[in-house]
């Protein structure tokens, strides 16, 4: 019997199910997927209370088997008052010995309040390298590591890529770790104890000598509620580091980055993963700070279960004319399943490398969880308004005592972007020195954005997305 090709040309959505209801409990947990401590390493943990009432914060550091790490005070508890923030080294929270070697993960739990934001920063004791990420509140049954191999943008820099998969649940989970590449795929199965984790490079997670190139790793939970993940990528010969949360598959068809730069050795590397088995057409648009296109949009086709990696300066043929071209990136796809991130660094030396996931959800309320404004360290931010109407963004910088220390309203026209440090002349040039506090953000229109930390000599920089929530953040 002959065949011909039929096509279900549009996505098919069913009606919804019957309703189910439940009352949420009062214990609010979030997870820091990696805490690395050693004589030459530190990990800092930030927890902010942007609500109107105090809460008790409980912290527990767990080892690979899910047991409490042997520390001075583990689990630990403290109270965080309304509007306050607490930022300490992990060992300070737990009264541990900063000279011990520990690799664990941290669970943060708040009684009665979900108005908690948290990030973590890790680096070396000589602060030659630093990066960080936001804590994770949601676990997933499918996660992806987008840059698990020494290739592409990393090639020649001999990175040490350590990936952690954490089970924050009170029951064990089983995961399939699949390394998919242009020359095949291979997989391994792991059982992770309740509240335990596995960690290692691709050879340790997947199996030695896999030989896969142009790859990404898919973590599929086959038994259990879900996992979180984090990749710690260090370049010892350069002295720089990247921290990247593992990302969930996305159904979005538009992604944003408020960070695109080219010129004066600055490179922006984009990596997209098509997690779908179907081929996807992806259109990349570079938009200048003033909202005008920097170049003609480019469309690429990414085969199913494949990656696309490119230098955005090359993709858009950006001319630097001795200066730096800056703007935003818009990624649009013709189907679901695209995820991705960018790395921003000195393309010649990899100095000040920082990574950011592409954002698929814009926000109108958010918190930048930490302010570091010191003689050697700056804090900055970037916002991108991808909408058709102007966005009025109100920033409130909160001091270490919980009071507002500075306020500013920024207006971004359609497509416009702004990137500033806190002490720029048109921001707060006399911003008080502080290490602590946070920034509340409220925008009249949905925007993308992230905060930056950096060493003023540009040895390191860290880019961290803000804390956002499902529900309204501010009373």
């Amino acid at each position: 019997m002959p065949y011909y090709e039929g096509r279900s040309a549009l996505d098919t959505f069913s009606d919804t199910s019957e309703t189910a209801s439940a009352e949420s409990g009062n214990y609010c947990r979030t997870f820091i997927p990696t805490w690395k401590q050693a004589p030459e390493y530190w990990t800092g943990v930030v927890a902010s209370n942007f609500g109107d009432s105090a809460f008790s914060l409980h912290l527990a550091a767990r080892d690979p088997g899910g047991e409490y790490e042997n520390l001075g005070q583990n689990p630990a508890s403290l109270s965080i008052g309304p509007g306050l923030q607490n930022s300490l080294l992990g060992c300070e929270f737990f009264d541990g010995d900063p000279w011990n070697d520990d690799l664990s993960w941290i669970e943060l739990g708040a009684e009665g309040s979900s108005r908690m934001g948290s990030i973590f920063l890790y680096g070396t004791s000589d602060t030659s390298m630093m990066d960080g990420a936001e804590s994770q509140s949601a676990f997933a049954r499918k996660l992806y590591f987008t840059r698990p191999l020494d290739e592409g943008f990393f090639e020649g820099w001999n990175p040490d890529i350590q990936m952690s998969v954490v089970n924050p649940n009170a029951e064990e989970v089983t995961v399939r770790c699949i390394l998919r590449g242009s020359n095949g795929e291979t997989e391994s199965i792991h059982t992770i104890p309740a509240r335990g984790f596995i960690s290692g490079d691709s050879n340790e997670l997947i199996g030695p000598g896999h030989g896969i190139i142009n790859g990404f790793i898919e973590i599929e939970v086959t038994e259990g509620p879900g996992v979180i993940g984090f990749a710690r990528i260090e370049f010892p010969q350069v002295g720089t580091a990247l921290g990247m949360n593992a990302v969930q598959a996305s159904l979005s068809r538009r992604f944003y980055s408020a960070q695109l730069a080219h010129g004066m050795n600055i490179a922006t590397n984009l990596r997209l993963v098509n997690t779908s088995a179907m081929s996807r057409k992806v259109t990349l648009s570079a938009i200048g700070d003033n909202g005008d296109d920097l170049a003609y949009p480019t469309t690429v086709e990414i085969p199913g279960l494949s990656i696309y990696s490119a230098d955005l300066g090359t993709v858009f043929s950006l001319e630097s004319d001795g200066g730096v071209t800056t703007g935003s990136l818009l990624v649009e796809t013709d189907g679901h399943g695209i995820i991705g991130d960018i790395i921003f660094a000195n393309g010649d030396t990899l100095e000040y490398a920082m990574s950011l996931p592409l954002q698929d959800r814009l926000f109108t309320e958010a918190v930048f969880n930490h302010i570091a404004n010191l003689p050697t360290v700056f804090t900055g931010f970037a916002f991108f308004n991808p909408g058709d109407e102007p966005a009025e963004i109100t920033l409130e910088a909160i001091g270490t005592d919980g009071n507002i220390v500075a306020e500013k309203i920024l207006t971004l026209g359609p497509g416009e972007r702004i990137a500033r440090t806190l002490t720029d002349p048109d921001m707060w040039p006399v911003f008080p020195p502080q290490s602590g506090g946070y920034i509340k953000i409220q925008s009249t229109r949905p925007v993308a954005g992230q905060q930056l930390f950096g060493d003023k000599s540009l040895r390191y920089m860290a880019a961290i997305p803000p804390t956002t929530r499902l529900e309204p953040m501010f009373d």
Partner: protein, 277 residues
């Protein structure tokens, strides 16, 4: 009920028919009277109900040319015998007036964006030999006339249900048991409970359901939530595949009653169709 004369040659001719090319002329509107008025009205309704102006190919439709020249229409002995408009961007509902085509042998509307139910009036098509409605967004209960289905029936890749056992048995038989396993229908037995850890009830709620039979092509379950006191549901997230039977909704306000709904989705995809011979 059906006249099962093997009209295979007719079917094949319909499938591969080429619209005749007509020279421009100023034919009067009423020249399109090569079929009875009721049949003309049925085709007119099909055109208007499914966005005919936006069809990929609507050549000669509603023009003064003979109906037999309209794209996808076959007329024999003064009656419409074929409506063949697959992959033609038909968007809307199938009009019940199609049941007024008494000599219709072949109804091919597959791979379009048709929504709504299959009208029971199609049961009036006593001559119907072939009905292909696959690859649309049709929903609801299968009409009872499908307990005695056309010889060639394809209803795959919609979100149709069949609670009448005789209808279900009949269409499963025609589809070689691939009716239910190709329908994107809502999951059943949705339940919700807050997750507990160390005796503490969390601000995250675990949802679970029975996955649908159709897990073959890419898709998932979309989860929507709202506070019970609110009116509108918000999108939360989707599972990575249709085999999933649970998700944990995190980041909720503590101590609040929430409502949840779940829908299934199958992403656009290609599939193989069998051509009867």
């Amino acid at each position: 009920m059906k006249n099962r004369t093997p009209y295979i040659s007719i079917i094949l001719a319909l499938m591969f028919s080429i619209s005749p090319v007509w020279a421009d002329c100023d034919c009067p509107q009423d020249s399109a009277t090569d079929i009875p008025p009721g049949e003309y009205a049925a085709l007119y309704t099909l055109y208007t109900a499914t966005g005919g102006d936006n069809w990929t190919d609507n050549a000669y439709w509603l023009s003064s040319f003979p109906v037999s020249s309209w794209h996808g229409i076959t007329v024999e002995n003064g009656h419409v015998t074929g409506v063949v408009l697959p992959s033609n961007n038909l968007t809307g509902t199938i009009p019940p007036e199609l049941g007024n085509l008494p000599n219709l042998l072949s109804l091919m509307l597959d791979s379009n964006n048709l929504t709504g139910e299959i009208p029971p009036e199609l049961g009036n098509l006593n001559s119907l030999l072939l009905m292909w409605l696959d690859g649309n967004n049709l929903s609801g209960e299968l009409p009872l006339f499908l307990a005695d289905p056309p010889e060639y029936l394809d209803l795959r890749y919609n979100h149709l249900t069949a609670s009448d056992q005789s209808v279900l048995d009949a269409v499963e038989l025609v589809h070689t048991y691939r009716f239910r396993s190709t329908q994107t229908i809502p999951p059943e037995n949705l339940s919700a409970r807050p997750s507990e850890i160390d005796g503490k009830t969390e601000n995250r709620i675990e949802l679970s359901w029975d996955p649908i039979s159709y897990v073959e092509d890419e898709g998932g379950y979309q989860v929507f939530y709202k506070k019970t006191t609110d009116t509108d549901y918000q999108y939360y997230a989707a599972t990575a595949d249709k085999a999933s039977s649970s998700i944990t909704v995190s980041d909720l306000d503590p101590g609040i009653e929430y409502d949840f709904k779940v829908s299934s989705v199958t992403w656009a995809h290609d599939y193989q169709k069998l051509i009867p011979s």
